[in-house]
Amino acid sequence: MVGIVLRQVSKSYGGTRAVDDLDLEVEDGAFLALLGPSGCGKTTVLRLLAGLERPDRGTIALGERVVAGEGVFVEPEDRGLGMVFQSYALWPHMTVEGNVSFGLHGRGLDRSEITARVGQALDLVGLSAKARARPHELSGGQRQRVALARSLAMRPRLILLDEPLANLDANLRASMAAEFRRIHAETRTTFVFVTHDQAEAMALATRVAVLDGGRLQQVAAPEDIWHRPASPAVARFVGSRRLLPVEVLGASADDPARLDVWLAEGVLSLAGSAPGGPGWICLRPEGLALADDGSRSPGEPLLGGTVRDGHFEGGHHLLTVDLGRAGEAAAVQVRSPVPLPTGAAVRLRVVDGWVLPRAS
């Protein structure tokens, strides 16, 4: 069953492409995160799905219905979906009940049905006791629940959420994340949410779509995004990896699933997906270790550099090491059990990394 289909969707604002030729399919019942740095076009995608923006090009279908395409545009009023705005957008002059029921009036439902639906939606978000309260009397988390209940009461097949955890403090964030997962499981509605926070995306979503510069970089399960980034942009954004240019030699002799790469006068065998030729290795701080002078196995490449900066991070010191190379990764980060002074010479061993092709 198909939930959402976007085909070659583009949208520009005054010359800048916010969304560039986007293809995306989302299964019915998925919990999809649109992840990316600010300005990557993720909010535009959400507003395109809602019908609050018109695509310049391309087709959008929700379920069996094309809602935007050549000569077709369905207004948001007629799309029958729910949306939780970042500001919650609760109508300040209405009670909680009034907010939730406002969209239900005027669509031919009888009064008892409306009351039942409002009660059910408020039950689901755990706010039945606050039905008569006004938005300004509620806490941030409660307001968000009202906004969610307002969407749920419409019984949509799709609910869009704009940065749902951004306005909440740290404690509330964890409990609201659990609430979203529970409600998603109970209602089996498709949820699409936008976030710039990778931890939030990983914690909530069953699928993550990473956007950068208006283009889709990768759609996959959270684990895959984390362990197997498909493009340099994803690698840089997720897990804050640093990229080093290498030469990919081909599949490893002893493990065909791994790739041999040439780095710093030595050969490394790493996981990844790239043809032979120029490539990147993507390094997280955990994938590097300080090499003690004695323990070098023959042929293992070591990266030499000088400590630029270091600070204690609880449990270990995080060092920024200047590799003295031209190009992208002038510096990498590595954990150290002991503090090292700025300017100290160190050598780093690559423990783990991910290989990607590099356009030469």
Binding site: V2, V5, R7, E25, A50, G51, L52, T59, A61, E64, R65, V66, G69, E70, G71, V72, F73, E75, P76, E77, D78, R79, G80, L81, G82, M83, F85, Q86, S87, A89, L90, W91, P92, H93, F102, G103, H105, G106, R107, A147, R150, S151, M154, L160
Partner: protein, 570 residues
């Protein structure tokens, strides 16, 4: 899924048809409002301008224009208008800036009351201000013969008093925007009070003061009440009174000549407003304003000098003239000295028993009420579309709606005579000389007073409030009624009261559009004074000031919770 996408590309399987709505409802509404506002305000003005540029009676190109401009009466009125407006601008700028500075530096408890009284010339119509000062000058120069007010000097001084609040408000707005740390930084640097005022505060306020001065000039050019009461008997014609006298004396036949006067008025006012926009763009330095930052205060204790200036200003601007007006309304007859024993309510009795006055009060009340209601009905959807929906046509309409308020009332009234004197097409009747033309003109002229607060209130709202309704499937009409209208209601109420208050005493437009049976309060005050019956004029003025005071209190109550709506509140 593939078939879904194919369906979008036009290959629709299974007779699955997609319907595109012909026109979106908000587009239709915005287009309708644009047509309505342009048709009602810009079209008559365009006709008037076209008439001013029309060929002369003998067929010469631009004959009307050249004939009118060659007339010595028009030239004299133009020179007089420019001279008294320049004088008024000087008076308004000096007094407005000094009073705003004094009020800003000397904090006093009765700050709101003092501000309200200093702003009272904005609420009290100019013919009543003129009348009050005539009575005041009668008390001061009793027995010396002609009062010096009936001259260009007098007109300039009174128009200066009337325009003072414009400079005062502009200066005060700039002062509240100035962060206190700019002054504090100068004090840390060791600068003395005089140096801080001269080198830091005044330069930062200068653009605001100058822009207020330009507004004062534009308001003075379009002023009718003061030159009508002082200049007509004093034989000192200005452009607005010349247009009135010509039309009154010769009837609609002189419309082409009067249209040229209107054109000159419009050019002067619009030129001044354009100069103000340029001035603000090139002179204003961006000042970083943080909410909650206090106004720069040289001292926190009330300065006796500043307080003296403020209350001296209040006395001269509001208390003395109003007192003179009340005294005159209680005087038994012209020339009879007023004392505790001779005071009489005869003027009030005479005024209230007059059928014409009763009719005028009823007319003014009904016109104000219906004008406010119609303006509210137009303004709420317009502001909703322009501010929450960001509809370009609606935003254009809000700009077009400002024009009739920015231009002198005389110009608007003349444009309405021109368009509505002939019978309307289709229905075949003329609304000229009916209350309809007054109502229509009032709506067009005072719509910005209602639109302004509503626009400001809706612009502060998160557009997501409306988007949330759209996503919930709520149609335009219900969103307007259920979301926009309740949220705009306090501002709409305040704006409607302000417009009703202004319209109740309106004179400039009414004096040209009234006819027997459709007298208004403003016209009656003017008529009484014109007949030399100053006692009755004063009595009716006092009554109408009471109405204004009541409406101002209502406006204050409705608008006090809204930021920046009630000008006399901080």
């Amino acid at each position: 899924m593939a078939d879904v996408v194919e369906a979008a590309a036009g290959r629709r399987p299974g007779g699955f048809r997609l319907r595109r709505p012909a026109l979106r409802r908000d587009t239709v509404l915005a287009g309708g409002l644009l047509l309505l506002v342009c048709g009602a305000s810009l079209y008559p003005l365009a006709r008037l301008i076209a008439l001013a540029f029309s060929a002369g009676e003998d067929g010469t190109i631009l004959g009307t224009l050249s004939q009118a401009v060659a007339s010595t009466a028009v030239q004299r009125a133009l020179v007089n208008s420019l001279a008294v407006s320049a004088g008024a601008t000087i008076v308004a700028t000096l007094s407005g800036a000094v009073l705003a500075l004094a009020l800003g530096y000397g904090r006093s408890r009765a700050r709101t009351a003092a501000t309200f009284l200093l702003l009272s010339p904005l609420l009290i119509p100019s013919q009543i201000i003129a009348l009050a000062w005539i009575e005041l000058s009668g008390l001061i120069w009793a027995g010396t013969g002609g009062s010096p007010l009936y001259s260009g000097w007098g007109i300039a001084a009174l128009m200066g008093v009337e325009a003072m609040p414009l400079v005062f408000l502009a200066t005060r707005a700039a002062m509240t925007g100035l962060p206190a740390d700019l002054v504090e930084a100068a004090r840390i640097c060791g600068a003395r009070r005089r140096r801080i005022a001269g080198r830091i505060v005044l330069p930062l306020l200068a653009p605001a003061i100058l822009s207020g001065a330009v507004l004062a000039f534009a308001a003075s050019i379009g002023n009718f009440g003061i030159p009508a009461l002082l200049g007509i008997p004093g034989r000192f014609p200005v452009l607005t009174t010349l247009a009135y006298q010509r039309l009154n004396g010769f009837g609609p036949a002189v419309l082409p000549q009067v249209a040229v006067i209107a054109l000159i008025l419009a050019v002067l006012v619009l030129g001044a407003l354009a100069a103000r926009a340029l001035l603000l763009r090139h002179m204003a330095v961006p000042v970083e304003v943080r909410p909650g930052a206090a106004t720069p205060m040289l001292t926190s204790a009330p300065l006796p000098l500043a307080l003296g200036v403020v209350w001296g200003g209040v006395t001269v601007v509001a208390i003395l003239p109003m007192l003179a007006l009340v005294l005159s309304s209680l005087a038994p007859a012209l020339g009879v000295a007023l004392s505790w024993t001779s005071a009489t309510a005869a003027n009030y009795e005479a005024v209230l028993s007059s059928a014409a006055v009763r009719r005028a009060i009823l007319n003014s009340a009904a016109l104000s009420l219906f004008m406010a209601l119609i303006a509210g009905l137009v303004a709420v959807p317009l502001a909703y579309l322009a501010r929450l929906r960001r509809n370009p046509a609606a935003r254009l309409t809000t700009l077009a709606a400002e024009v009739p308020f920015a231009l002198p009332g005389t110009v608007v009234a003349l444009a309405f005579i021109l368009v509505f004197l002939p019978p309307l097409p289709i229905v075949g009747i003329s609304i000229y000389a009916t209350p309809a033309i007054l109502l229509f003109a009032y709506v067009v002229r005072f719509l910005p007073l209602v639109l302004g607060p509503i626009s400001a209130a809706l612009a502060r709202l998160d557009p997501a409030l409306d988007d949330a309704g759209r996503v919930c499937g709520v149609r335009l009409g219900r969103r307007l009624r259920g979301i926009a209208a309740p949220l705009a209601a306090p501002a709409a109420g305040a704006g409607m009261v302000l417009a009703a208050l202004t319209a109740f005493n309106e004179l400039t437009v009414s004096s040209l559009l009234w006819s027997a049976g459709t007298e208004t309060v403003g016209v009656m005050v003017f008529a009484f004074q014109y007949e030399g019956n100053s006692g009755k004029a004063s009595a009716l003025s006092v009554l109408s000031i009471l109405v204004v005071a009541f409406l101002a209190a209502l406006f204050d109550r409705l608008g006090r919770r809204l930021p920046g709506i009630v000008p006399w509140r901080d």
